[in-house]
Homo-oligomer: 279 residues x 2
């Protein structure tokens, strides 16, 4: 995610530095950017010179001081682990210039969890991206201590990054879209564990009614079954617990979804992408 956000910011004309403690991760990030730029150029029919120049202008560094010495804004996309995020924000709070706005790209946590330790809660807000290039929505979610003046500024920043900015007026696990996504995926899980419908029939229902190229189980495979399990296992109701147990059985068998080659479907040619699936 950090790679995609950084690349879009560079393409939008911002000076960007990308920081990671691992030099290997930085190398991977740069390679991924090259791939994305080639893909975008192919889609638009233009050459990828502008994209290559944007990447060349990005500072890739494992030194946090080099990354943020003059930063107007930080967007953090580290692992969804409270301890790690706390450590990162404590460090940034100490070394970032006074002007720097702090934003977290957390998927399922809340900005108030890190606002105090960052040392500048009033300049702290969630700025959450989805896919950046395909799903162009950015959630702006302040916590109760966020300076209200930060909100229009971040809305404008989101627009400059070619995203559709939406305001999450109160802290909410899952912002707007992910709340709805998890609700319908939970309903799909309940249909499956309750033996009401098959994986394929549940997906077909969704795909045909909404004219989409994936149903809930295809979407789960693309999200990753491990990620979905982390969210589902914390939900208190019985249906969610049964679905979490099913997800765990897939994970234990090494089936994490698209990234591992198999989840509910087998990749790279899952059944739902094959001709005749909807016959």
């Amino acid at each position: 995610m950090g790679t995609r956000v950084a690349l879009q910011a560079a393409l939008s004309g911002y000076q960007v530095a990308i920081f990671d403690i691992s030099p290997k991760a930085l190398e991977t990030s740069q390679k991924l950017m090259v791939k994305i730029v080639q893909h975008l150029a192919k889609g638009s029919g233009m050459d990828d010179t502008a994209g290559r120049n944007a990447i060349a202008a990005i500072t890739f560094t494992d030194n946090p001081n080099v990354a943020i010495w003059d930063a107007d804004l930080i967007n953090e996309s580290v692992t969804e682990d409270v301890e790690i995020k706390n450590a990162v924000w404590e460090q940034f709070g100490k070394i970032a210039p006074e002007k720097t706005i702090f934003t977290t790209n957390t998927s399922f946590m809340l900005p108030s969890m890190f606002a105090e330790i960052s040392g500048r809660p009033e300049k702290f807000c969630a700025l959450h991206f989805h896919d950046v290039f395909y799903s162009k929505v950015v959630d702006i979610m302040p916590h109760p201590g966020t300076d209200p003046q930060l909100v229009p500024l971040l809305m404008a920043f989101g627009r400059k990054l070619e995203q559709v900015p939406v305001l999450v007026k109160k802290e909410n696990h899952g912002y707007l879209f992910n709340s709805m996504l998890m609700a319908f995926i939970g309903a799909a899980g309940k249909l499956l564990t309750g033996e009401v419908g098959s994986i394929e029939d549940i997906d077909k229902s969704w795909m045909v009614n909404f004219h989409m190229h994936m149903g809930p189980f295809g979407i789960l495979d693309s999200i990753g079954l491990d990620t979905a399990w982390h969210v589902t296992k914390n939900l208190p109701d019985n249906a969610s617990q049964r679905f979490a147990a099913l997800l765990k059985s897939y994970i234990d068998a090494g089936k994490l979804g698209e990234k591992s080659g198999e989840g509910f479907y087998k990749y790279p040619n899952p059944a739902y992408k094959q001709e005749g699936f909807l016959d």
Copy 2:
């Protein structure tokens, strides 16, 4: 719904009779068919002769005996009212030929509620259509007493009507798709009543992430807020009750959605269809 199912069956080459107790409803049905056929012809670039011939071959009657004297299959789409459906199935059970298969197109009820009174539970099954021409899914949902041999027969019939048949293995309110639809719409309602997001921002999140031309509140307007209220008010959790109360306040103000000219949006030109909505 009955109109659309009957028209598709006629277009697929079946001999069709459409029965309603009201001659006025039959007239409306015929007029709607003409409109649909014109619309379909326009979309395919062909003339509407085949469609007009199909309509001309349909028997429109307020006499149930005329409608079902030689029927192989009945698909019932009467009002979602247990008493009325019971009365209809009791009558059909008495006058239909022995060979006739009984199917109900109920949206949120269960076939087992009407199977006994029809007098032929083993030949009774839900056969539930969505939109027929735009959303081409048909749910086949047997009740515990349905003859299993009926299922493949109804799957084949669904395919002949150019639908994607899906099997609902156990009785479930909302089949497959409607269960998931109500789950994500419920989540959207919770975001709205909890003042987490605005109607527009919730819809934007859905539309942009899923590349759809409507979000949950646009969908609610097209379903009808009265229909959505009937389902939501029966759900036991607090969030659903709060959302049902909000829907009721719209209904009491005459805002039923697209059909009344206003719901969450104003029609015929709702904000979400206007240029710039996603800027």
